[in-house]
Structures are given as structure tokens and as C-alpha cells.
């Protein structure tokens, strides 16, 4: 049995892997954002890297004077937290960048409320499963090769055929595929208890 702290597919190690986007693609993405007056959506199915890309975007948008707020919604927490009330939105101006992860969780009515109240913000970027809420900046998608690359980056090897099977079984959801690999790895037999290695 591999202990949780030694599992190469543990959450902390997986979260360290960032969205793979070239500098050219980043430039294009930012050009699109400017073209659409600072409004845009990162679109893709579950487990395709939207949240990771949004977090990476947050880092790139950081500069002195800009206030960045990241709001996370999920099926478990589908409503805007209390801190994000009318008072919060009333203070937004062109220095604010509002990032909303999981825009599909808002009903159309709530979505219109959100759009109206964020109209003064300099940037509004959301992640969503389908096109339609804001102009699409980037479509997130996955491939068996991406899964293989990620697994290799985590220090393991995944044969191509297995990567294809796993990718297909999880319908492209890389997060779920990596969770399955965690479980498989946890069952491996080992007589050695190695020391923790990833504590950054």
C-alpha cells in the first residue's frame, strides 16, 4: 500500500501542475480580452482545467493598483457568498478585476444581476461549461496526450493505450482520471515507507 503522503497523485502534487498554455496563446487570450472590453469566458467541460487557467490568469493580471477578486462557485456552494453583496459591487471601478469560477451555477436571473452589478469593473472573467454568458476567450479541452504529459510530470509513466482508455472512460475529465490513478497507486504493494517529498 502506498501511503497518502507518498502518493504521486495526491491533491497537492496535482494542484502544482499548471495549465499548459504557450506565451503566444497567452498573448492571444489577452488580446481577445481587450477586444471584448475586458469581458470574457473560459469555456470547457468538467475537469478540463478552467479553474487552473483562471488561477494562472489571476497571477498574470496582478499589477500594482489593480484589485483582483476571485469568487468560486460549485455545485456544493452555488450562490454568491454573503461578502459579495450590493455594497461590495457598488465599490467596483476600473481598477477591479472580478474572476468568477463556475458561472454556470448562477441562474439566468442571478447572472443578469451579476453582470449589471459588475458593469463598472475593469475586468470580468468567468469560467463556464458552455458558451453564451460572455464572449469566449479560450476553450479548455483535454487529450490522452495531455493526460500522459501530466502523469509524466508527476513522476510516473502511463502507456499511450492506457492513457487513451482512461481519458475515454472519464470523458476527458482529467481530474477524475488522476483520481483513478491515485486509487490505483494507493493499492500498489511496497515494503518501503519513503519520507515525504513534496512540501512546498
Amino acid at each position: 500500500m502506498i501511503l497518502a503522503r507518498d502518493n504521486p497523485f495526491s491533491t497537492d502534487r496535482v494542484l502544482r501542475e499548471r495549465y499548459r498554455l504557450s506565451e503566444r496563446e497567452w498573448s492571444r487570450l489577452q488580446e481577445k480580452l481587450s477586444y471584448h472590453c475586458g469581458r470574457g469566458a473560459l469555456v470547457g467541460p468538467k475537469g478540463s482545467g478552467k479553474t487552473t487557467l483562471l488561477e494562472d490568469f489571476k497571477v498574470r493580471l496582478s499589477h500594482p493598483g489593480r484589485r483582483i477578486t476571485l469568487i468560486r462557485l460549485s455545485a456544493e456552494s452555488p450562490i454568491l457568498p454573503h461578502a459579495f453583496d450590493k455594497t461590495f459591487f457598488a465599490k467596483l471601478d476600473h481598477n477591479d478585476a472580478l474572476l468568477l469560477d463556475g458561472a454556470e451555477q448562477l441562474s439566468w436571473l442571478k447572472w443578469f444581476w451579476f453582470r449589471w452589478h459588475t458593469r463598472h469593473a475593469g475586468l470580468v472573467i468567468v469560467t463556464t461549461h458552455r458558451v453564451g454568458r460572455l464572449p469566449m476567450l479560450h476553450r479548455c479541452s483535454t487529450t490522452p496526450m495531455l493526460l500522459r504529459t501530466l502523469v509524466r510530470s508527476l513522476g510516473e509513466d502511463l502507456p499511450h493505450a492506457e492513457a487513451a482508455t482512461l481519458h475515454r472512460r472519464h470523458r476527458g475529465n482529467i481530474r477524475e482520471a488522476l483520481r483513478e490513478l491515485y486509487d490505483r497507486h494507493a493499492e500498489k504493494n511496497t515494503g518501503v515507507l519513503s519520507t515525504p517529498t513534496s512540501l512546498v
Binding site: D12, A186, L199
Partner: protein, 123 residues
């Protein structure tokens, strides 16, 4: 120790502590400028398949008036939780030294257990 370094060492190089024992630490720093703050945090955190948890149990600030120096810090360890590992989750104990500005840090891990070793689940 060269410039821009932080050092945090558990006295006598101990790696395992029993609940309720005292953790004694030596702290050293050599930074380019006098830090705004130097803080030691005692905490546990989890690693594994699900969401990660962390709880800071105690913090100790070091009053620093120089860019380089050394100090001693002591923490009384709590009764629980014990260090443990299973297939799905591991709970690990650590202390870290954080210097601001710049958020430089270093950490030191240890096991908290009444048996002298990490508790292993499912074996």
C-alpha cells in the same frame, strides 16, 4: 549560512514527540535587510486524495532588530491529533519560519505520536 537565508532546527535533531511534550527550536536568519516580521508557526496539515486541511495551532513572533540573528522558541505540543497515514489521507505536523516582506519561509517536520512512530492505518 549565506545571505538571504532562514534556518529552523529542532533541538537535538529530534523527529518524534509525544503529545504534551515541549518542542524546542533554534531559529537563525541572515537576510539582506532587517525583516518587518519573523514568525514561527506550529501547524498540522493533510495530504492525500481529497481537499487539503490545515490548522495553525500556535504562532510566535520574534522581535528582530537586525538583518541577521538567532533565537530560541518553545511550543507546548497538544494532545492530538496524532501523525498518521493511510491510503486516502496523511496527517503531518510541521513548524515553519516565515519572514516578511517577501514571504521567505522554511519548514521542519516532525511526528506527533504516543507510540514513537507515525500511526499507520489499514495495515
Amino acid at each position: 549560512m549565506s545571505n538571504d537565508e532562514l534556518g529552523l532546527f529542532i533541538d537535538n535533531d529530534r523527529k518524534v514527540f509525544a503529545p504534551g511534550e515541549t518542542l524546542e527550536l533554534s531559529v537563525l536568519w541572515a537576510l539582506p535587510a532587517k525583516p518587518d516580521s519573523l514568525e514561527i508557526r506550529l501547524f498540522w496539515y493533510t495530504r492525500g486524495k481529497g481537499t487539503e486541511d490545515v490548522e495553525v495551532l500556535a504562532t510566535e513572533k520574534i522581535a528582530s532588530s537586525a538583518a541577521a540573528g538567532e533565537s530560541k522558541v518553545r511550543f507546548a505540543l497538544p494532545a492530538a491529533p496524532y501523525s498518521f497515514s493511510g491510503k486516502l489521507i496523511s496527517l503531518l505536523w510541521a513548524v515553519e519560519l516565515v519572514a516578511e516582506p517577501g514571504t521567505r519561509s522554511t519548514r521542519c517536520e516532525f511526528t506527533l505520536s504516543p507510540t514513537g512512530t507515525e500511526i499507520l492505518l489499514g495495515r
